[in-house]
Structures are given as structure tokens and as C-alpha cells.
Amino acid sequence: MAELRYLLFLGCAIPYRVSAYEISTRKVAKKIGIELIEMPEYNCCGLPMEPISYDIMLALAARNLCIAEQQGLNMMALCPGCAGTLHKVNKILKEDKKLRDAVNRYLKEVGLEFKGTIEVKHFIRVLADDVGFERIKGTIERPLSALKVAEHNGCHVLRPAKYIGFDDPENPVMLKRLIEITGAKCLDYMDETECCGAPIVGVNEKIPLQLARNKLSHIRDVGAQAMITICPFCHMMFDVNQPRIERMFDEAFGLSVLHYPQLLGLAMGFSPAELGFDELRVDTSKLLSAIT
């Protein structure tokens, strides 16, 4: 088996306000035997700057890739935006010599050069591709067979397919399989692969909140007890914003929204406190009483 050592790319949103995702990831990674190395002097992945300037996005992403190359380690990112951007830029810079030369002219100014010697993966891709389902299954101590949940992948883990090349964006199964390893049942629902809307919250709140409400309704309608996400932004849309959505549409959901490693961590036998449950906005007591 390949060595499970990665530079952990935290990005901006997770240290800013989604610590539970990081806390629970570190717990389950350690239990599985994934060694996470802190990424030195990293910067924004570049994605938030892409609407302003494609060139600065490339330069910021490439600088992170160069740091990982210097460490001689592959990267694991928790945010799909970061993972998708770094994966895509890594791929196009490896394949497009003209673009690589242009970006290397920028990087030369800060004493760096992109060589294309490492890989970047999102956390669930590390679990699915590198760790493998069997090994994860071996860490389960308390199967959550009483639970029915629904997944929300988050667009950038899957799309654009030609740059990402993971799972099937039209009918994704990897996160479902990872959920079912915990013993929980993962339910299908309408518009499962649809975007949460978070990327445009800063310019228009009405549309994303309607999108999120639509997904929450579909998930409630199939009888899921919780929603499982793998993206800090999707999580904020469905968890942090859920009370706002309830007020806006005069509708009650009360749907717990967990980061995937929180679900996995429960099945491994960690306590909710160890997995950062206190940070979740929507009450989880009903959910937790169903599994104890």
C-alpha cells in the first residue's frame, strides 16, 4: 500500500469558521493511519480571486503547488473549492507547456518554479482512492445502522469532469459508499447533485437561499435524519443558514447537517464532543439519541 502521508491544505473558510470539519478530519485520519503534515506558508488556493483575474488565480494556486513540491508530498484538501482549483491548475500546468512557462515567469519573481511532481486530492478522494473502503471498514466500532441520511457532494469535488476525473458527476456513488461504511443508510433524493448556491451569497442572497431550501425540502421529504456534507461552504449554507431559511420560508426543517468525518468519527466510537459537534448550528440531540 502506498504511504498515506499528505500535506494538509486547510484553505481559508475552514480556519475562518468551520473548525469542526478540521477537528473531525484529524481524528478520523489518525485512526485510519493517514499522516497529515502541516502545510508551511500556504496562501489562498486562488479560487476566490478567479473572477477578478485568471492570472492571479493561477499564480496563487501554483505557489501552493510549488511549496508542496519542495516538501516532496502530495496534498490533501478539505474544501472542494481548494481541492478542485489546485487539482485543475496542477493538471493544466503539467499538460500545457505554454501556460506553464508563463506561470513560471511569475513564480521566478518569488524564487519558485512549478515542476509538476505532486498530486492534489480532496479528502474523500484520498479515502476512496488511496485508503480504500476495506481499510476504513476495519476502523468501525459502532455501526450507525439506526440512521438514514442524505448526502450532498458539493460541485467542485466532481466538476468539471474533464479536469477533476473523479466519480460520476451525474450519478456520484463514492460519498454514498463512504457513508454506508458507517452502517448508516444513504437515501436518494431529487436534485441530489445540485449546487448549494454558496458561491454567490456575497452578491445575491435570495437565489442561494432558495436553492438551499429546495434541497432541504427534498431531503426532509425522503425521511433523512441528517444531511452529510464534505464542503465548508455547503455546510454553512445548510447548517448555519438553516434557521434563516426557516424564517424566510416559514417552514421548519430541523435537519442536522454533519461533516462526513463527524459521521465516520461517530461510527469509529469517538464522542460528539471530540468531533466538534458543539460548533453545529442545528441541534443534533435527536440524531444522537437515535444512535445511543
Binding site: 473548525s19 506558508e41 496562501n43 477578478i52 492570472d55 492571479i56 505557489r63 518569488v110 466538476r159 445575491n204
Partner: protein
Amino acid sequence: MVSERSEGGEAVIKATEMDPKFKYEISKIPGAEKIMLCFQCGTCTADCPIARFSDAYRPRRILRMVQLGLKSRVLSSDVLWLCAACFTCVDRCPQDVEIAGVLRTLRNLAVKEGFMPAVYRELATSVLETGLAYKIPASRLRKRVEAGLPPLPKADVKSINKLAEVTGFSKIIQARRT
């Protein structure tokens, strides 16, 4: 907040308002190379999650406006900023147009013309000052210690600002909105 009103200007389009070379200019920029291949099938709009909840955002319409050369209408339009970059249109376009790449190209050009929603200036300022898109509050840093999380690394702000300078990014951010 960006409104959902349609792109500005009169309903009647004058031929003199069109820039027949705009599509060629656009198609030289990475991500927008295939703009001329759009045959207006409407798959992008039909599958767009934003278009489902917006009366104004129609990716097909934006692409047609580019093909027609309605440069100033497109670049000054608020709807440009409603694409959530979910990339559904990119994966489903039968002509492989990479619509989200065209939208990004148009946004980059709009910024050069002085159109940029306030939120992006905030994010950009944070990147230049701290290396990250969000300024991490001191309370969060304290919580990291309490939770037993390792400290965040110091950002190399000098290198980031150098990259911003050589890519022309600093100049864009410093420019006042016209």
C-alpha cells in the same frame, strides 16, 4: 447586493452598438476559446441551478450577446456575477464551450472596465494583507489552541504581493471603481 435586473440598455439594439471583433478578442483568452461554437441549444440555461431561481440569469443569452458583440452591455451587466461556478453547464455542453470559463473571462474583462462587486474587493484585500481570503479573527486562533489544533502557518505576504504585482492584480485592486 447585485440585483436580478436584466442587462442594462434599451431593448432595441442598434447595429452601431455591436463590436463585431469582440468574439475574436474573447476567443483568444484561455477558457473562452470555443465561444463561437455555441449554437444556442440552451442546455446551459436549462440545467443551470441559478437560472431556475432567477428571472434574469440566462447563460445562453450571455453567450449570444458576446457573439453579437454587445460588449458594453455584457460587461456592465449585473447578471455576470450570478454564475455560481457549479460547472454543470461545462460538463453538459454538447459543443464543449466551457461556459463557466467564458463567464470568468467576461468577469475579468468587466473588472478591468471598473465593474466589480464589493465582496470581491474585500476578499482581494484580505488575500494581499494576510494571504488568505478571509481574515481569521483572533478569537478563532484562540479556539484553535483550546481545541488542540496546530497553529496556522505565517503567510508569506511579501511573495503574495510580488505575485500580485507581476500579474497586474495589485493595479486592478488599487484602481477606484469608475
